[in-house]
């Protein structure tokens, strides 16, 4: 085991995959400047700075992926994906299907998302469900350094376009990563804590919030199970249903806004497939339908907090 930050875990995964496979490369605005270790190790043809033009960065990745490379592109902050939406959604996501399966798009799009740096709405927007809603794409949003490393490796090896959203606030958080960390399969949730009374489903930074809430609940004799989705698409439906079948209660927690968010999907899934196990209505705790504020207290209020989760669970338990 070594201890490393999420940012280092991403770099470690990149380095290992670039070492393993000469067709893996990375480019983006400042990638070669900021990931100097990769530049020194793999050279300027495989680690490239680009012009400030997200559309051509993503389009170049799609064209390269279709013809033999495995590009990783860093588009910096998630709201900038608006400029690359066409290339990610209309090209990378659709051209395999449109071509009748003639071409594959093994590419990875990295972007930072979420509150924590006070960077305001044009740099902080949880846009993951835009892409979950688009066919042909896979979306991962891990919460721990080990998962970032393992899921990045799988994302790079996957023959489909994979978006990896890194929660800004997690970037410098540290955790243990196994020395020979292997790829973690996409589409498998992790049970972070076992429990009998209620299931808390979350992903990215709010997993930690759920863990804190579970600690508090444990003090009150309530045993919460915490599920970290890790991948939003493919979604580990079994893990959710199995847990709800056991606990009979579900609270979904995420920072993205509620309407048509991932939580809505999970609530609907449970209503369709595990309704009979439910002992209380499903609850969702999400960010508001508002752009993310820059002001620190407002930004904190934007993100679901542990005490709100505790209150939600208490209400489900009947007081």
């Amino acid at each position: 085991m070594t201890t490393m930050t999420v940012n280092d875990a991403i770099s470690a995964a990149l380095a290992e995959e670039m070492q393993r496979d000469p067709t893996v490369m990375i480019f983006g605005e400042g990638v070669a400047t900021k990931r100097r270790d990769l530049l020194e190790r793999f050279g300027a043809t495989r680690v490239r700075n680009t012009p400030l033009a997200e559309g051509i960065i993503a389009g170049t990745a799609a064209g390269a992926a279709a013809t033999g490379l495995r590009p990783v592109v860093d588009l910096l902050f998630a709201p900038f994906l608006c400029y690359a939406m066409d290339e990610i959604v209309n090209s990378a996501g659709k051209l395999r299907y449109i071509s009748g399966g003639q071409f594959s798009f093994p590419m990875v799009v990295l972007a930072m998302t979420g509150a924590g740096w006070g960077v305001g709405a044009q740099h902080n927007h949880n846009v993951e469900s835009w892409f979950v809603h688009s066919p042909g794409l896979k979306i991962v949003m891990p919460s721990t350094p080990a998962d970032f490393k393992g899921l990045m490796k799988s994302a790079i090896r996957d023959d489909n376009p994979v978006l990896v959203f890194a929660d800004i606030a997690l970037g410098y958080s540290a955790g243990e990563v196994p020395e020979e960390a292997d790829a973690i399969p996409l589409g498998k949730a992790a049970v972070r804590r076992e429990g009998r009374d209620v299931t808390l489903v979350s992903y990215a930074k709010t997993v930690g919030t759920c863990m804190a809430a579970a600690d508090t609940l444990a003090g009150a004799g309530i045993d919460a199970e915490v599920i970290d989705l890790r991948s939003l698409k493919p979604l580990d439906e079994d893990a959710i249903l199995r847990s709800v079948a056991k606990t009979g209660r579900l609270v979904v927690v995420h920072e993205a806004s509620r309407l048509c968010g991932v939580g809505a999907e999970i609530a609907a899934l449970v209503a369709e497939k595990a309704f009979a196990s439910l002992r209380a209505p499903v609850l969702r705790l999400t960010g508001p339908d508002a752009p993310a504020p820059a002001s620190f207290p407002l930004e904190q209020a934007f993100v679901p907090q542990a005490d709100a989760i505790v209150a939600a669970v208490r209400s489900q338990m009947g007081g």
């Binding site: 033009a53 389009g59 064209g63 013809t67 051209l95």
Partner: protein, 318 residues
């Protein structure tokens, strides 16, 4: 890699096949047998001239007006018709339709109908050629309308900075769907934009396949020699409407008749007759070959079944 010189009689036959293919499609559409299409009638010379200058190693990206490029590359008109009719034996199993046919075995990749999409992808295809040490160059066809999009500048700029082997071919057919080019750009053409980005360019008579072939050959030579991208602007005209059916009521009659006189097939044929390289008998022989090809193609497409409904959700993920 040696470049095959273009035989003008063969070029004429290929252009006539493209025209006949699109007329067949218009007819099938009129009878409710195929969806509407964007034809390239009037632009056959650019397609045949440029594609004939490519080698088998080269890759092609194109747009919604792609039939000429595909057929010039040797695509089977039966499989193309089948694709447009949504049949199983189409190049993409019927999932593309007319607007985004691609054919990997012909090196025709990533046909985009998002205007400018092919410009965004071309840099990546050029990059993979370079990084994987593959010999081919990448030919990217797009319209003057696409050149008014930001991706045009982004694409040329990155290709120049990264020295990517891309032949950009703008078919300036004067129209951008229902908007005349002169309404959307002040410049006379788009080649001028290239210089500012450090990309060499040439403007060519897009209705002359031999001129197109020569210019494309020179451009490809330059790309192979310098590694740098090159922009070729073919001055041509869209003789039919944007999307069949289209009565062209909005088109200036004088402009249309000026360009109809310059119909590339008519001009080449007249020239070959004048030069004594083709007589009435020779023309009749080409016409009958083309007709037979299209009859066989139609029969093939007709006979091809629709895809099974399970195809609805296959090929979404690798």
């Amino acid at each position: 890699m040696s470049i095959h010189p273009l035989d003008p009689v063969q070029a004429l036959e290929r252009m006539m096949l493209i025209r006949a293919y699109e007329e067949t499609l218009i007819d099938l559409h009129g009878r409710g047998r195929a969806a509407g299409t964007c034809t390239s009638v009037g632009q056959e010379a650019a397609a045949v001239g440029v594609v004939s200058a490519l080698t088998a190693d080269d890759l092609i990206l194109t747009n919604h007006r792609s039939a000429g490029h595909l057929l010039a590359r040797g695509a089977d008109p039966g499989r193309m018709l089948a694709e447009v009719m949504g049949k199983r034996d189409g190049y993409c199993g019927g999932k593309s339709g007319s607007l985004h046919i691609s054919a990997k075995d012909l090196g025709v990749v990533l046909t985009s109908t998002i205007v400018g999409g092919e410009l965004a992808l071309a840099t990546g295809v050029g990059l993979s050629r370079r990084m994987l040490g593959k010999p081919g160059i990448v030919a990217c066809f797009f319209g003057d309308g696409a050149a008014t999009e930001g991706r045009f500048q982004e694409s040329l700029n990155l290709a120049a900075v990264w020295t990517l082997p891309i032949l950009y071919v703008c078919e300036n057919n004067q129209w951008q769907a229902f908007v005349h080019r002169k309404e959307t750009m002040l410049a006379d053409g788009i080649a001028g934009h290239a210089a500012a980005l450090g990309v060499e360019s040439a403007v060519v008579d897009g209705n002359d396949p031999l001129a197109m072939f020569d210019a494309a050959s020179a451009a490809i030579d330059s790309i192979r020699r310098t590694g740098k991208p090159f922009l070729l602007e073919a001055m041509t005209y869209r003789l039919r409407g944007h999307f069949e059916p289209d009565d062209q009521a909005y088109v200036d009659r004088t402009e249309l008749s000026h360009w109809r006189d310059r119909d590339p097939i008519l001009c080449l044929r007249t020239r070959l007759e004048r030069e004594g390289r083709l007589d009435a008998e020779g023309i009749a022989a080409i016409e009958s070959r083309v007709r037979a090809t299209m009859e066989a193609a139609t029969a093939f497409a007709d006979a091809s079944p629709y895809p099974g409904l399970d195809a609805l959700t296959t090929d979404v993920y690798a």
